[in-house]
């Protein structure tokens, strides 16, 4: 077992987080097989609307008579794929920019970091909302908006790491033996800068699920009949307080999933860099 995993296995909260993440992952992958009513992703059953939780419908039914338990299970895939798409897109934009800015220096670096600062100053939720609205609300525009606002975090981290590493002795040595910039950056600096990126990505996954849920809730993200958790909560508001179960369970699903990613991320961070304690 690698030392990182061994350390992780001793951190109880992090293991809990890992367990949750794996659990959600399994649900996301095998959701249609696990859900008692997989067709309820899109079907509607007008005769059994808004039933309270029972043995047949553990989480009750929604406004179109669909099994909320099934839809919560089916929603995991959407939530995870949004998060993964957003975070990987943000990484694809942010990491190279950070590498360039950190390794090159000069006006290019200055320029990149200024833009990064500006984008960081834009309130993410508001920009995402505005973009989602203006490009007509859909999952795609929500994901694009979130990616466009999340990359600076990666740029910052990679920039700092690259700056630190490129002034370090071993990079000097590499330069001395005539290694090319590309080689140095991709074979030596990038792998070393990766662990904080992974930590940030883990926490970013949870965070993105949360913001995506907000967008879904405000009608700017997933569109019906997608079994989106945020959307379900939005739909449920009309039926409160009668159908309390309608809002409660999708919200718990968000809470548990995001908690899983955060616990895991915190644990990873403590291992990678016990000194830094940052959130988000």
């Amino acid at each position: 077992m690698s030392p990182i995993l061994r350390k992780l296995s001793r951190d109880l909260p992090a293991m809990l987080g890992l367990a949750i993440v794996l659990f959600v992952l399994v649900i996301a992958i095998f959701g249609p097989m696990l859900a008692p009513y997989p067709e309820d992703a899109a079907a509607s059953h007008l005769t059994r609307r808004l039933r309270p939780p029972s043995a047949a419908f553990p989480f009750g039914t929604d406004n179109l008579g669909r099994d909320i338990f099934s839809r919560v299970i089916l929603g995991a895939r959407g939530a995870l794929s949004i998060a993964l798409t957003v975070v990987s897109t943000a990484m694809l934009i942010g990491v190279p920019l950070g590498l360039i800015a950190g390794y090159r220096g000069g006006w290019l670096s200055e320029g990149i970091m200024r833009v990064t600062d500006v984008v960081l100053a834009i309130p993410q939720l508001i920009l995402a909302l505005a973009l989602a609205q203006l490009m007509s609300p859909s999952l795609e525009s929500a994901m694009l908006a979130l990616s466009l606002t999340y990359w600076p975090y990666f740029t910052r981290i990679v920039y700092a790491e690259t700056r630190r590493l490129s002034s370090s002795l071993f990079v000097d040595a590499l330069r001395g033996i005539g290694a090319g910039s590309g080689r140095i950056v991709f074979l030596h600096i990038l792998p070393n800068a990766l662990s904080p990126v992974i930590v940030r990505a883990t926490i970013g996954l949870g965070f993105t699920i949360l913001v995506a849920a907000v967008l879904g809730f405000l009608g700017m993200g997933a569109t019906p009949p997608a079994p989106d958790w945020g959307l379900a909560i939005a739909e449920s508001r009309t039926y409160l307080p009668r159908a309390w179960w309608y809002a409660t369970f999708p919200g718990l699903a968000i809470l548990i999933t995001v908690m899983g990613f955060n616990l895991l991320g915190d644990g990873l961070r403590d291992i990678v860099d016990p000194r830094i304690r940052r959130s988000r």
């Binding site: 899109a42 079907a43 406004n63 179109l64 859909s138 009608g219 019906p224 409160l240």
Partner: protein
């Protein structure tokens, strides 16, 4: 309670008193709200985007301006009749071009100045100059200079072409007070900025400027000097407090705890049972003229194919939707117009939910080369639960016959923008057509005459030369007896072409506090006219 207080000595220990005080702070307002001011009507109607009736004309504006402004004629009663209001009568020339309205004597604006025909002329010219929403019906047929005041009590309109709906649209124009507006004009804006948050009318209630915050709240107080007087209602509402609430459940709870006298008139059917079970409120049901339609973009395949359109028309579970989701609070309306309006060809049946037939049409359409497998988009207004539910229902049924429909949430301003061009208009979208004026023109006229292509009402881009001719003829004729058969004929043809999916005519559901008495309903304005209402104590 008071009696007990007297009979016992020190009634409460200090601790009890403190507990009570804390409890009062926590639970207090719930009670205090119920004992609402006996002369203040707290309205849950939505507020218009701003207060200028010449800039905005939609359902919330109607509910506001019916109270703050007056019109030459006004719709009253159910079914709606157009009745003299500021005008006591009118005449029209035989060619339908010259209209004269005679004002009542002694009408006063809220500032006390008398209303003259010149003020009416000013109001219409302002509408035309601004060219915003309410001008739509008039811009093509009325030049500003052709609105004149031959004498202080007569207003004359000279139309460019004969246009029957002109009279039907007269109640949409509010008469404003130029003496208040003119001092607030900036850069020739006709006082647009000022009137957006102030009032300059003569209506039964006067806008309290300090009591207005856009889309949040609006206060009005009674105009004791209204020209109609208050003899018909000895105990009128003294103040109206508009307190719109965005969330249905919030609205309903506010109604149930007594802090709202009426909800907005578009309550979801799911709430009826709960409200009717309460002691304090009930749900008022009224048949209105507000049709619900799924548009198809007739320029995009497969919707350019008649069999394809017929397939879709048979795949919607009309009665399931109306019964189960709307709780039966709507009437199936197979026509492109409210079925309670004149000009309906009652012998035409329309289409029913029949998946077998839908499949047959599907096969025919495929045989004719229509791309029925193409993934289609149905755009809904995300914030409107009912449109979302209808779309999801449709989607589930279409999936059964092998049609791949994607429901896309969208918002009104984007949809109307998209509808301006055939290629940006969604494959399908959902909307209602409310009563802007009570005339077939409001529905079939503007929805299926190809000259309106580019507006959201005509967003199916339906074009049938015969229909165009019939609708234009009907528009130009003046007498309803002449016009009705023309509309009936046009509707027959339109329905045969099945350009859209017409679903229902609304029944409006409005939660009302039981203390609200004397409400008069009219589909125009949806019963928002407060002057008839008395609050029981």
């Amino acid at each position: 309670m008071t009696a007990r207080k007297k009979s016992h000595g020190p009634l409460l220990g200090r601790r009890q008193a403190a507990t009570l005080a804390a409890g009062a702070l926590v639970a207090g307002t719930l009670r205090s709200v119920q004992a609402a001011d006996a002369s203040t009507f707290v309205s849950g109607f939505a507020l218009p985007m701003n207060l200028d009736p010449h800039q905005v004309y939609d359902v919330p504006m109607q509910s506001m301006m019916l109270n703050a402004y007056d019109n030459l004629y006004r719709y009253q009663n159910d079914p709606p009749q157009i009745v003299p209001w500021l005008a006591e009568s009118h005449t029209v020339s035989d060619d339908g071009l010259l209209w004269e309205f005679k004002l009542r004597p002694g009408i006063k604006f809220h500032d006390g100045s008398p209303m003259t025909a010149e003020d009416v002329v000013y109001s219409f010219r302002r509408v035309l100059a601004l060219g915003l929403a309410p001008a739509g019906a008039f811009l093509k047929i009325l030049k500003p200079d052709n609105v004149t005041a031959p004498d202080p009590r007569t207003v004359r309109f000279k139309l460019e072409t004969s246009y029957a709906p002109f009279f039907a649209a007269i109640p949409s124009i509010s008469i404003v007070n130029p003496r208040l507006i003119e001092p607030n004009v900036k850069n020739g804006d006709w006082g647009k900025a000022w009137l957006a948050s102030n009032g300059a009318g003569s209506g039964s209630y006067r806008i309290v400027s300090a009591g207005y915050r856009p889309l949040e709240y609006l206060d009005m107080e009674i105009n004791e000097d209204h020209f109609l007087g208050w003899s018909h209602n000895p105990k009128p509402v003294k103040k109206i407090a508009y307190r719109p609430t965005k969330e249905t459940s919030t609205r309903v709870l506010a109604l149930l705890n007594g802090s709202l006298d009426c909800t907005d008139p578009n309550l979801p059917a799911d709430q009826v049972e709960q409200i009717n079970a309460s002691k304090i409120a009930y749900v008022q049901k009224d048949v209105v003229m507000r049709t619900f339609v799924i548009r198809m973009n007739n320029t995009k395949p497969p919707f350019n194919n008649l069999n394809a359109r017929l397939c879709f028309a048979h795949a919607f579970n009309y009665m399931g939707f109306i019964k189960d989701i709307l709780g039966g609070y709507a009437t199936r309306d197979p026509y492109p117009m409210p079925d309670n309006l004149w000009g309906i060809p009652k012998d035409v049946k329309g289409y029913d939910y029949d998946l077998k037939k839908a499949k047959e049409y599907y096969a025919k359409a495929v045989a004719e080369g229509a791309p029925m497998k193409r993934p289609l988009e149905l755009h809904v207004q995300s914030e409107n639960e009912q449109s979302v539910q209808g779309a999801q229902l449709f989607q589930a049924d279409l999936a059964q016959i092998g049609i791949n429909l994607k429901v896309v949430g969208n918002i009104w301003s984007n949809l109307t923008t998209a509808a301006a061009k055939p290629d940006t208009t969604p494959d399908m979208w959902v909307h209602w057509v409310s009563t802007y004026f009570v005339d077939p023109e409001n529905w079939v006229g503007q929805m299926y005459d190809s000259q309106f292509h580019g507006t959201w009402k005509a967003s199916s881009y339906y074009k049938n030369d015969q229909v165009d001719a019939l609708l234009r003829k009907a528009r130009a004729a003046v007498k309803q007896e002449e016009r009705a058969p023309l509309y009936e004929e046009a509707i027959r043809k339109i329905m045969a072409d099945s350009p859209d999916i017409w679903i229902y005519n609304s029944m409006q559901l409005q939660g009302l506090n039981k203390r609200v008495k004397g409400r008069r309903f009219c589909t125009v304005g949806q019963g928002a006219e407060i002057r008839w209402i008395t609050l029981d104590s």
